[in-house]
């Protein structure tokens, strides 16, 4: 398969604009500027592109919600917070091919009529932030950003905004709060960002990978894009594989590649040829799959049908030696630590879960703990303000559903069954 998202990875100085242009870069932007903005929105709609940030919402549809009134300022925000554990795809693009993102954002901004855009990048990505700043400078010098881009009459400025280490700031409305200088906590919706987003102006928030798909859609056409992978979630997808496989890393493959194909074909199989125990298919909030589910295609709808989700495309592979109680604890501790504190069930519920898991894992489990965990999950799920709290429950429920006996063993025997 011809790569479009990771095509420049590994090439020398792939981050420099000369090399990007030499490889065909910025042609999509030049072509786009000759189209009407509405046509671009339609092309993205036709391509079937769904957001790669986790929720899988149609990107073209999201753009089409932006009011057309030219007197209202509009914003594009690129979500480069990449906080979901196991995810490192956006960073791959930013570090190695920053112009791909800049070009995608310039096209998107033109399509929605945004004169300014922000890249909200997690604070730890200092290297990537520098690369982006440099790329923006290069692009501005070459006339791909700034005033009157390529004589089209369209002007656009792009800014890099660094986060301060909160997972919640990847949630789109918390991200907006953070850019505005407030504490990163989600806003209530409605109003949705498309009507009242950054500084209460119409705003599109898209993930890095989503925006990186745009130049290819313009150049190769929506048909090319939609013909790849399943009809309802087409296109190329970057899978971030980590855990007990021989060759972890980033894999750009057609959407809908199966778990088996990814692990045993592309990643070279299990590390030390141990037995596979479980796979988290889409970042730590996604409930885990087991050996029974190896033929599940990794796309939005197939995973949803299995009660899990594609999320950010972070595939975490665990072999037979993995303690599921410890795994559940680590994941849950992440969520309780990252809970923003706004709503009651997540703020006070997730640390409670963590404390119980800590006890079970440490050999201090009590009879009834598993039932208590389940009951607390019921009390949290579907009642939180944003999806973070739900994510914590989905992950834990996945572990409890598939490995309940391991939890009970820990409680009964004060030690682990797996290791």
């Amino acid at each position: 398969m011809e790569k479009v998202l990771l095509k420049n990875l590994g090439k020398p100085d792939s981050h420099r604009i000369e090399n990007y242009i030499a490889n065909g870069g910025y042609r999509a932007l030049e072509a786009a500027l000759k189209l009407k903005p509405d046509n671009i929105v339609q092309m993205v709609k036709d391509s079937g592109l769904r957001g790669r940030g986790g929720a899988g919402f149609s990107t073209g549809l999201k753009w089409s919600f932006i009011p057309k009134d030219p007197t209202i300022p509009k914003y594009l925000c690129c979500n480069a917070d990449e906080g979901e554990p196991g995810t490192f795809k956006d960073r791959g693009i930013i570090d190695n091919d920053p112009h791909l993102l800049v070009e995608g954002m310039a096209i998107a901004s033109y399509a929605i009529g945004a004169a300014n855009s922000y890249i909200y990048i997690r604070g730890e990505f200092a290297f990537g932030a520098d690369r982006l700043e440099a790329a923006i400078k290069e692009a501005t010098e070459k006339g791909y950003l700034g005033n009157n881009i390529q004589g089209s009459g369209f002007s656009h400025n792009m800014y890099v905004h660094k986060g301060f280490g909160a997972y919640i700031c990847g949630e789109e409305t918390a991200l907006l709060e953070s850019i505005e200088g407030y504490r990163g906590q989600p806003r209530k919706k409605p109003p949705f960002p498309a009507l009242s987003g950054l500084y209460a102006k119409p705003t599109v928030i898209n993930n890095v990978e989503t925006l990186a798909c745009i130049p290819a859609i313009i150049e190769k056409g929506p048909k090319w894009f939609s013909s790849m992978g399943p009809e309802k979630s087409p296109g190329p997808k970057i899978y971030c594989v980590s855990g007990h496989v021989k060759k972890p890393g980033l894999y750009e493959l057609p959407m809908g590649t199966t778990v088996r194909d990814l692990i045993f074909n592309h990643c070279g199989g299990m590390l030390k040829n141990r037995e596979l125990k479980a796979v988290i298919p889409g970042g730590v909030s996604a409930p885990m799959l087991t050996t029974r589910d190896l033929d599940t295609p990794l796309d939005f709808d197939s995973l949803a049908a299995k009660g899990s989700m594609l999320g950010s495309g972070a595939v975490i592979v665990m072999d037979e030696s993995t303690c599921m109680v410890k795994m559940a604890l680590i994941i849950n501790r992440f969520f309780s630590h990252e809970s923003c504190g706004k709503c009651t069930p997540c703020r006070d519920g997730t640390p409670w879960l963590t404390n119980i898991l800590k006890r079970i894992e440490g050999g201090q489990g009590r009879q009834g703990d598993v039932e208590l965990l389940e009951s607390l999950c019921t009390n949290i799920f579907g009642r939180t303000f944003c999806p973070l709290g739900d994510g914590a429950v989905m992950a834990l429920r996945g572990a409890l559903k598939n490995f309940r006996d391991e939890f009970q063993y820990h409680i009964d025997h004060k030690k682990c069954m797996a290791s």
Partner: protein, 840 residues
């Protein structure tokens, strides 16, 4: 909004109800009679939907939805009492209790805590949390002299943060940390230099924010309370005052009650302890051989009878404080006019009677009450001549809160920076005392340079350029204001005490009002007054030029200044001063004392031995607002009842009884005896009060119907007021700063100086100048400076304000140690002062 109102019909628990589209499910459910518990919801704060107590089931939706931020949609079917909803509520409470300190037995809030009530009502009644709790801190920590905090009890509703930002506008609270370590507090728990109004304490549903010195002094069930009205400014906040063992220990406001709902300012919330001050007068005093000696009532009244002949007429004068009740003030003027036959009456030592009369007329007080909520429904609101944020803090809250939820413009014209500026659409910094020029310039700009017929002669020769120069403003700013006013269909003007300090602005206020009206606008004017019952005092006829209900009087008498002059000349022999500290408040202290000392008889009725009382021949101990019944009329013209909490201390009497006792010395039938009977007489004498209703909902409620319109007074049918033109005041030529005065945020007149708690907030006097001036003088906030005028100089500490007009210095009139009236001299131009740094 003038659009069509769209209605939506929804089913709540099977009951059909039609409400306005966009109504919150919570409100619709309450309308339908179903109570939904809440923590983070509060009618007058922006919804955040975070506590999840109010989750309800909407048919067809998988997840429960927060009813406090979800509007109804036509056809929705909502269930608020299903097993899932009920268990969700219980589970939220279980979560809240998980990390909660559970120290109810030592918590101030125990007994009036929303968390306790909620758990009692909605469960769970058994705890499952058996993990180690997270503790924010071991010990309560003080956030200010009046606020102390214990974060371990927090339910994270953010009300404290939101009330401080959205209503008070101080915006000094926020949250530290995240997740279960989130703590609502000040910036890194630093000591707060804020408005100290304690609204954060009031809105806190649990015992996180507590008040000092109240903490640990009592349990709520040991308190006895009375519904009353704040005795300080003209806003007229409703409050509950409470005592334990005869000591007034707390004043608080209640959600949904009064125009202020839960809010008060520092004076109202912390300043009522003056009533239980040990310095209260407890017995009558008579001057014997140079000093004031305790006496019995018989002796005191006998002394008065001996010295004041009936029908003494012109030789007598009376001044009664605008902090007395309507009933007392009415009886006082009746005593002076009917018993003593004297027309010399006033309710203030601070302003000329012609100024007050003109101000009443220009602001249309004689046309009846004007609700602040109606004002805030206008397209444009102009605040002028008022330092609203300091003088009427809760009015400032109401304006800010409503402004932030509506499309409207707020225009503020003032020399000093004020907190409300941050909500203003346009702010105009003009030279002090130049309200007249500002108003004329606006009036001309509104009419594109030509005076309207209404302004006629007054503005015939006025040139906008001259006016702008005199006001110290730019033409652009004035034109911007004019544009806003022209674009508005309805306009409200809030006009404050500066008009009385500089009365040449009064006629112009009336002119602008007429000009706007004649161009087809709906115009409302609301006075902003700094004394609780100033409006009542006028409406009861405690004024030399008019009687009750602004009706005409046979003979016009002298006002305070006139009486003092007459006393000084020897034309006035006796004065009866009730509650007013003339010696402290009248401009030019030296002259005032001299004049008062010339009186043959000075009777002072007060609750403290004031500066004036110290000069008296007879001192009669009266009662504070906490010890009597009656009514106050606030600045809007709302008559509100005050109620008795405690008996007057010692031999002191209710003021009504004192005034009546003096009257009965001459006419045994002088009365009536009871406040309600006096009110009946007032209803007859002043038609404005004929239909006023004193009924109100005095119980905490969530309906938030704050605009109790039945309490507004009607227009007067007999009003015979006129507006006097004052020539523009001159200012001394020397000195860098123009000296201005007014009330400090924590004080009101001199009388708040008897509140130990308020004194604790700010004891030393402060002079305020702009940051720019300070920088050019090499001074900074907190420096000790010398303020030197022609007649007086004082050492004060400096406070700088960013946006204030340059060349203006402000000293609050509330400090005994810096009697600002000593800078002023009768008949001389307004003082200018120099400010220099003091180094020791």
């Amino acid at each position: 909004m003038h659009g069509v109102i769209i209605m939506a019909t929804v089913k709540i628990n099977g009951k059909e109800i039609t409400v306005q589209d966009n109504t919150l499910i919570l409100d619709a459910a309450r309308d339908a009679g179903f109570e939904i518990p809440t923590f983070c919801y509060q009618a007058d704060l922006m919804g955040i939907g975070s506590c999840r107590m109010c989750l309800v089931e909407i048919e067809g939706q998988k997840k429960l939805q927060p009813s406090c931020i979800t509007p109804v949609l036509h056809g929705m079917s909502i269930n608020t009492e299903t097993p899932t909803v009920i268990s969700a509520r219980a589970s939220m409470l279980e979560f809240l209790l998980a990390n909660h300190a559970l120290d109810c037995p030592v918590c101030d809030k125990g007994g009036e805590c929303e968390l306790q009530d909620m758990v009692y009502k909605y469960g769970p009644h058994k705890g499952r949390h058996a993990e180690k709790k997270f503790k924010f801190q071991e010990k309560d920590y003080a956030l200010s002299p009046v606020i102390i905090k214990n974060s371990n009890r927090c339910v994270q509703c953010q009300k404290c943060v939101r009330v401080c930002a959205e209503v008070v506008g101080a915006n000094v609270l926020g949250a530290l940390g995240r997740g279960d370590h989130q703590e609502e507090t000040s910036f890194f728990r630093h000591f707060l230099d804020c408005d100290q109004d304690g609204n954060c304490i009031e809105v806190c549903p649990v015992g996180c924010f507590m008040r000092l010195p109240y903490r640990y002094r009592t349990r709520p069930w040991d308190l006895k309370g009375a519904d009353t009205v704040c005795p300080y400014c003209g806003t007229g906040c409703r409050m509950v005052i409470e005592h334990r063992d005869g000591v007034l220990i707390r004043s608080k406001a209640q959600l949904g009650v009064g125009l202020n709902s839960e809010t008060l300012c520092a004076r109202g919330r912390f300043g009522c302890d003056f009533a239980s001050s040990t310095e209260r007068l407890k017995t009558p005093l008579i001057r014997r051989g140079g000093s004031l000696e305790p006496a019995s009532w018989e002796e005191a009244l006998g002394y008065i009878k001996e010295h004041i002949p009936v029908n003494i007429g012109n030789k007598m004068g009376g001044i009664a404080s605008p902090r007395l009740t309507n009933e007392e003030l009415y009886l006082f003027q009746k005593l002076l006019r009917d018993i003593f036959g004297s027309p010399n009456l006033d309710s203030t030592a601070r302003w000329e009677p012609e100024a007050t009369e003109g101000f009443i007329k220009a602001t249309g007080m004689d046309e009846g009450g004007v609700s602040v909520f109606d004002c805030m429904e206008s397209d444009s609101v102009l605040v002028i001549g008022s330092h609203l944020s300091d003088e009427n803090p809760v009015t400032d809250y109401i304006v800010r809160r409503i402004k932030n939820t509506r499309r409207m413009s707020l225009i503020i014209a003032s020399p000093r920076e004020m907190k409300l500026d941050s909500s203003a659409t346009i702010k105009l910094r003009h030279s002090p005392g130049r309200e007249a020029a500002v108003l004329d310039a606006i009036a001309l700009a509104v009419n594109a340079g030509k005076p309207s017929p209404a302004e006629g002669a007054a503005l015939k020769d006025a040139k906008i350029e001259d006016l702008i120069a005199s006001a110290g403003v730019t033409k652009g700013a004035v034109e911007q204001i004019a544009q806003r006013l022209l674009a508005a269909n309805s306009i409200a003007i809030i006009a404050g005490m500066e008009f009385l300090r500089h009365p040449e602005g009064i006629p112009e206020l009336g002119l602008l009002k007429e000009a706007l009206k004649s161009s087809g606008k709906k115009v409302l004017v609301m006075p902003a007054l700094d004394r609780a019952n100033q409006r009542g005092a006028w409406e009861m006829g405690v004024h030399p030029a008019f009687g009750p209900g602004y009706g005409p009087v046979k003979d016009k008498g002298l006002g305070c200044a006139g009486m003092l002059e007459a006393a000084n000349r020897g034309d006035l022999d006796m004065m009866y001063i009730a509650g007013a500290d003339v010696a402290a408040m009248h401009p030019d202290e030296e002259f005032t004392r001299k004049a008062l000392l010339k009186l043959k008889l000075l009777v002072v009725q007060d609750i403290f031995l004031s500066e004036t009382a110290k000069l008296a021949h007879v001192v009669l101990p009266g009662s504070s607002f906490a010890e009597k019944e009656g009514t106050f009329t606030n600045q809007e013209g709302r008559a509100q009842i005050i109620r008795k909490l405690l008996p007057p201390p010692g031999k002191a009497k209710r003021d009504l009884d004192v005034i009546r006792a003096v009257g009965e010395v001459y006419d045994p039938s002088f009365g009536p005896k009871m406040p309600v009977l006096v009110l009946d007489e007032i209803r007859n004498a002043a038609g404005m009060y004929a239909h006023v209703s004193l009924a109100f909902n005095n119980k905490r409620n969530t309906e938030n119907k704050l605009d109790n319109r039945h309490a507004l007074v009607q227009g007067s049918a007999t009003s015979a007021l006129s507006v006097t033109r004052f020539s523009a005041a001159t200012t001394e030529p020397e000195g860098r700063f123009h000296l201005t005065t007014g009330n400090h945020l924590f004080h009101s007149g001199r009388f708040s100086r008897r509140s130990g708690t308020l004194l604790g907030l700010l004891s030393a006097a402060v002079v305020e100048i702009s940051e720019k001036d300070a920088a050019s003088l090499n001074l900074k906030s907190g420096d000790k400076v010398k303020v030197k005028g022609r007649h007086y100089e004082a050492i004060l500490s400096l406070k700088t304000k960013k946006g204030s007009k340059e060349g203006v210095a402000f000293i609050a009139e509330n400090y005994d140690d810096v009697p600002v009236n000593r800078f002023f001299k009768k008949g001389e131009p307004a003082p200018r002062v120099d400010i220099t740094k003091v180094t020791y």
